[in-house]
């Protein structure tokens, strides 16, 4: 698959088929992704790949505490900047509204929206969940390095015919994640990445996701 097709066909997939993913494929992807760049060659990314009974154990543990609502949340970082303005504030809600519009769930129907949000914590039915962590002493530029690696993984997964969904939502259940998998205390848990074969026929995998026009993002000088 060429890069353009991988970039254009990658989207956050929120419904997966019940079809396992071969560990050998994941190893191949991760081996290649080691060639991602990082400032000073720091390579700050670390991950736990969960499948089968180990994944089921985490999903069950989190399902137990979901009814507690916000009281069970234990994120180790701010997922959203506390003060967003202008175009950025508008973008935050655009994708949610587009998704719920596609699902035909109005704003008033909080119960249905909450139920869909809860599907995050089933990894949207994906057979594999990657949990990403990094040493706490890593600063913002090393988080950028992690992002470069994550996108490399996501594009290589497309090439293997696989789909993914990057899920910062998992950060709210860091405590439960730490109870299930061995993430060192001196590491911070960043995000999950659901991995599997996307069910692209589902409405939730088809709604158009907005992007800012190019001239809002980049300017040109000297061409």
């Amino acid at each position: 698959m060429d890069v353009t097709e991988a970039v254009a066909s990658r989207r956050s997939i929120r419904a997966f088929k019940d079809q396992p993913v071969d560990r050998a494929v994941l190893t191949r992807v991760l081996e290649k992704a080691q060639n991602s760049p990082s400032g000073g060659n720091t390579q700050p990314w670390n991950a736990v790949m969960l499948a089968g009974a180990e994944l089921a154990k985490l999903l069950a543990k989190v399902a137990e505490v979901i009814p507690q609502g916000l009281a069970a949340y234990s994120p180790e970082y701010n997922i959203y900047p506390p003060e967003l303005e202008g175009a950025y504030a508008a973008r935050r809600f655009g994708v949610g509204e587009a998704m719920y519009a596609a699902l035909d769930i109005p704003r008033e129907d909080k119960a249905s929206r909450l139920k869909w949000f809860g599907r995050n914590f089933q990894a949207f039915g994906a057979p594999v969940l990657m949990l990403v962590h990094t040493p706490r002493y890593m600063g913002p530029p090393q988080w950028s390095d992690m992002g470069m690696w994550l996108q490399t993984v996501m594009l290589l997964l497309r090439e293997e015919g696989l789909d993914s969904c990057a899920q910062e939502a998992w950060a709210v259940y860091t405590k439960q994640i730490r109870e299930c998998v061995d993430i060192p205390d001196d590491h911070i848990f960043f995000c999950g990445l659901a991995i599997g074969h996307g069910d692209r026929d589902q409405v939730i995998n088809q709604f158009p996701v907005p992007r800012a026009p190019l001239d809002e993002v980049v300017r040109w000088q000297g061409f």
Binding site: R10, K32, N35, N41, E85, V95, D145, E159, Q221, F223
Partner: protein, 225 residues
Amino acid sequence: MSKSTTVSQAVLSRRSIRAFTDQPVPLDLIRQIMDTARWAPSGCNFQPWEGAILTGEPLRQLQAKMQASQPQDPKEYSWSDPEVLPECLARLQQVGADMYTALHVERADKAGRADFMARNVVSFDAPAVLMVYFPRVMGSPQWSDVGMWLQTIMLLLREHGLDSCPQEFLSMYSKVIKDFLGVSDESHIFFCGIAIGYQDEEDPVNHFDRKREPLDGKIQFLGFE
């Protein structure tokens, strides 16, 4: 270098290029790449990236201003202080050692090393440079989003036979760059430059071996058959 069409080829052939030819980068092509890169993911779809792409006379003017300036103190942000990145210091030193070996610059040759470092300011003579900045309110997860966008750009460049070098180095001249571009220093942080062009395949600096950690120790597999 030839085009790396597939994702795998692009990932494996991408490396930091530190010597470019003077072949210009066509605007149509770079626009197409930047347009496609808009589809990079970001948490909550913030798309927290902003940038300016310079070439020709404006790029030369900005580089002249940087050359006439001192690296700023305090820094725009901390790159990777060796004191706080003990496990990473060795990797950083290894890249430096491998690079200078390829260039035949001795460890004791401080002037030779300084000359090469100074080539960062002119982005290794790349014909175009993407200057990357974004609002200061963005936190670590949004820096990750910016990274996803940057790697998308670097891989798309490979698909079209172009090369790149991400340069956190340029943040030493953040205020000069923002002033030149008319970007507010109060509201925006400058992150890095991305040198863009066609690599000089003859130059040994583009060929030394890059080391990467083995997967074991970085990645655990649990629950797989």
